[in-house]
């Protein structure tokens, strides 16, 4: 049975005269990887901002059966949707471990009274969270960075940190904004392997990417955006054959 985890209908967002997103509709089936491609300025990041609540637009967004287009970002995140940013946003003045341990939902120690009155329970939960963070760091092969300040990490390591941190909230869906951009080829291969492994475990992804070969390899379906509109949608093989898609890319790059 097919079930859409996210469906977006007639989404619009204008900045002054610029129609960044201009009537887009997409649906993502649970447990799949959807690639979102398109030339620079096509509106991909704006689409992410709308879906994750960082921008308000017109249109309907339904995530896991809940209307989320009027919710604030933190509520959307609590529904199980987590995003990364195009330019990685590690919390540089905190350690890698703190970055990860920040993320889990419903921590007892986030309530003042529990901090003072139930310190033992808070400590126990902290230990569980630390265990979990170690497992996730191990998965992303950055255990050795655990106690480093995130500010000391390289650009690629920050991308891994962001994905690891996102995993800490047990999301049902991850939005990744250009996970391969500015990353060396070895690391890029690793990142696509991580995505595939998480995909096998049932995670849903929406991945923005510029690099067509890289994205077609990991995606189940691909949406192509251009000038705020969805211009094509289909399986990677179909998309690769579409001449108009290639032309937009060549035009956009040139």
């Amino acid at each position: 049975m097919k079930m859409d985890i996210l469906s977006v209908k007639d989404l619009e967002k204008h900045f002054g005269g610029v129609k960044a997103v201009d009537g887009c509709s997409i649906s993502i089936e649970a447990g799949t990887v959807m690639g979102l491609i398109g030339p620079n300025g096509a509106g991909k990041t704006t689409m992410f901002n709308l879906i994750s609540g960082f921008e308000r637009g017109i249109g309907e967004i339904v995530f896991k059966g809940i209307r989320t287009d009027n919710l604030s970002p933190f509520k959307i995140a609590r529904c199980g949707m987590v995003r990364t940013f195009q330019i990685p946003r590690a919390l540089t003045k905190m350690t890698v471990s703190e970055n990860l341990m920040l993320a889990p939902k419903t921590q007892l120690g986030e309530r003042i009274w529990d901090v003072w009155l139930r310190p033992k329970r808070v400590r126990e939960q902290e230990m569980q969270i630390r265990e979990k963070s170690r497992d996730i760091l191990e998965f992303f092969e950055i255990s050795h960075l655990e106690d480093e300040y995130a500010g000391a990490l390289s650009g690629g390591q920050k991308k891994l940190l962001e994905m690891a941190r996102a995993m800490m909230i047990d999301p049902s869906m991850m939005l990744l904004d250009e996970p391969f951009a500015g990353v060396n080829p070895t690391l890029a291969r690793k990142i696509s392997r991580y995505i595939c492994e998480l995909h096998e475990d049932g995670m849903t992804f929406l991945v923005i990417e510029h690099d067509i070969p890289a994205i077609t390899k990991i995606s189940d379906r691909i949406v192509v955006m251009n000038e705020g509109k969805v211009m094509a949608e289909g399986e990677p093989a179909e998309i690769k054959r579409r001449r108009d898609v290639l032309e937009v890319y060549i035009g956009g790059e040139g």
Binding site: V82, K93, E110
Partner: protein, 305 residues
């Protein structure tokens, strides 16, 4: 020799008393600015609310304990009131609103004489255990009491900022969008920080009132807010230990320069200005050599990038 000791002890007691009050006052601001990144330029208002509420409650017949609690709660409540409209907006709104609030409050305290006795100020309220402690030992008693309060406030804050709650604050200080992308209700955490910081300032206000046993609106001039800022920058932003040391250094400096002013050809007014110049220079030198303050962590320097 004995004579000097007799003179020196009360002098040191006074410095430590003032330091402990400033330390608690500044710990409140350090929670707001140091750990949450909130810019509060009207922190003195909460010192005033704490002092006036405590004193007025006591004058109308409530026990000291109840009065102090009322002062703390009301200061926290005003933090909430100022926070609700401002903390969803850009950070400079809080700065503007708090600085305005602290001046408006001072004028209300000056002009609503039926309530506050205006410029005449209030005295004649109770002080803790004043009937039990012999007069000549009273300041020593107060010092012990205040140091105990300081220790309690310090450890309560340390536990908080080392908890997951404190971790959320630090994440907001650095990048609120990341915190919200991870499901944290940024607005609510900021509000809590401002409320607790203000409540702590309220406690300091009550302590100040008991120590000087007389309060008037001019006790609460805007300069007091900036003294707290100087103290936390000096001691190291986002370090509670640093804030306490900063308060001690700052208050010692103030009183030593007051003492030495006899040997300088300045009027009282000129001396005040001269002190500020010296403090400014010292801060500049400190910032050049150790921008994170005495106890701050370089990696967490809130002022960088």
């Amino acid at each position: 020799m004995i004579e000097y000791v007799d003179m020196l002890l009360p002098y040191i007691t006074t410095i430590l008393l003032i330091s402990s009050i400033y330390a608690i006052f500044s710990l409140g601001l350090n929670l707001e600015w140091g750990f949450t990144g909130l810019i509060n330029f009207g922190h003195v208002a909460f010192l005033a609310i704490g002092a006036y509420t405590t004193v007025m409650f006591n004058m109308s017949g409530f026990s000291l304990f109840v009065s102090v609690i009322a002062g703390i709660v009301l200061s926290g409540f005003f933090g909430l009131l100022l926070g609700i409209p401002t903390l969803r907006l850009r950070e400079d709104y809080l700065a503007i609103v708090t600085i305005g609030f602290s001046e408006v409050l001072r004028f209300i305290l000056l002009n609503e004489q039926w309530l506050t006795r205006g410029p005449f100020g209030i005295h004649g309220f109770d002080r803790p255990l004043q009937d039990v402690i012999p007069y000549q030992y009273y300041n020593t008693f107060l010092l012990i009491l205040y140091l105990m309060i300081l220790v309690i406030v310090y450890f309560a804050l340390e536990r908080l900022i080392r908890s997951p709650w404190g971790r959320v604050l630090k994440s907001i200080r650095e990048d609120e969008e990341v915190s919200s992308a991870l499901g944290k209700n940024v607005f609510w955490y900021r509000l809590q920080s401002l409320m607790i910081g203000s409540a702590i300032a309220g406690l300091a206000g009550a302590m100040l009132a008991f120590y000087i046993s007389y309060i008037d609106p001019n006790t609460f001039k805007p300069i007091e807010t900036f003294h707290a800022w100087i103290i936390i920058i000096l001691g190291g932003t986002a370090s509670n230990k640093g804030t306490i040391v900063g308060a001690l250094v700052f208050c010692t400096f103030l009183s030593v320069t007051q003492f030495t002013s006899r040997f300088l050809p300045f009027t009282a007014h000129q001396m005040g200005a001269f002190r500020m110049i010296v403090i400014g220079l010292l801060l500049i030198i400190l910032m050049m050599h150790k921008p994170e303050g005495i106890f701050g962590k370089k990696e967490e320097l809130a002022l960088s990038d």
